[in-house]
Amino acid sequence: MAINKESNGYVIGFSIVMVVVVGAILAGVAMALQPAQKANVRNEKMQNILQATGMELDRDEASDKFKKHVSKRLILDYYGNVLEGSEMTSEDEIKDGNEKDAFNVDMLKEFKTIKNPKDRNYPLFVVDYKDKTYYVAPVQGQGLWAAVWGYIALEEDGVTIAGAVFDHKSETPGLGAEIAQKWFQEPFIGKKIAENGEYTGISVIKPGPQLDEHSVDGISGGTFTSVGVDEMIKRTMVVYFNYLSSSELTQN
């Protein structure tokens, strides 16, 4: 065959064929793997919500346990009003794209796009586990390099922290990234976000000073990440405190 490989026609033709073939392959792979990827993200979120209450579970079983233990989920506005139609029980399936479902609230997206915290949505998950009721609230903030987030479980009194999990996108390993470790998360247990009905939040302070029941040790060398955790808890938990201290959920 006498095709001139260096002619413009050949080069253009080759490029077109290559792009079409590569595009088709990538599109096919992405479509084939998408269900598995989505399930991973979803199961991880369920796992984190349940882990906040102290439950130990694998990601594979998260979906079943979520259905079993999360008796109720709802969305609040900043002032503690329940968003109309957002109250759901474990009977309601989680449907993709249902904006009224607390599970589908994209905290990271809202944190980035809605500048005023008063305009954001605040999902709340009511978890029944070992004869106790927990209120699990997601928090979302900014670490040193990128996003940090977590789930905080409150006891039935709506004030005492029953457990907390934190994770991060790309904090420094060994420093800020330690927020995802147990030694950082465990001291939150038993701390209180209010005193005598006044909201205090939780302070993440530099190691050293005496701790009270509203503060935990931060990470030496991970100051910005600690500050980010401190800020996201203080900013977010006030909403849940106001709601839980006035709502009928905690009254009966």
Partner: protein
Amino acid sequence: MSTETVEKEKEPLFSKKNKALITDPLSDNNPITIQVLGICSALAVTVKMNNALVMSLSVLAVLILGNLVVSLMRNVIPGRIRIIVQLVVVASLVIIVDQVLKAYVYDVSKQLSVFVGLIITNCIIMGRLEAFALGNKPWPSILDGIGNGLGYGLLLVVIAFFKELFGSGTLMGIEIFGSNGAEPTGLYAIGYENDGLMLLPPSSLVIVGIYIWIQRSRKKHLIETH
């Protein structure tokens, strides 16, 4: 092509020359310590052995498949746009690897984060495509990919071994020096502390440096004379 003209007989699959394609990059022609390619990921994803292993496997897969694809297409790729073609091949393979990791080993893919995507810029891959696959038949190209991928993986695992051991006191997540929790046990009980510097990229550079030093003092012919 020289190989075809000299030997009309079919070359055995693992001839001496083909074996050298695999063994050379492990020591005398190691992509990291001798060619000094692919350094950036060697510095960054070696905090844990697990991550280093998955990263090595990913690079190995991309390298083998990339070499194979480019070698198969070597006679139809127009010379003027060959770099672009190589880039497209590598980029697509990396995206596929990234997607597969996200679907099947989600935890690891989260920890490797951007570095999977950055395999595209790993100089080893483009280097092997341009220097080897473009001028060789598919089978030697596959072997060359295996060799260089393993050579890269070897270094990554060696670096990660020291970084994880002295930085976190663990290997593959298993506690070696005892537990460093609220009640320290093992070495921690007598005052041992993990070395935080070992978790950061500069320590990899030191380890690579020491590796190169040992390698060249054992094999004098590797020392550059000029």
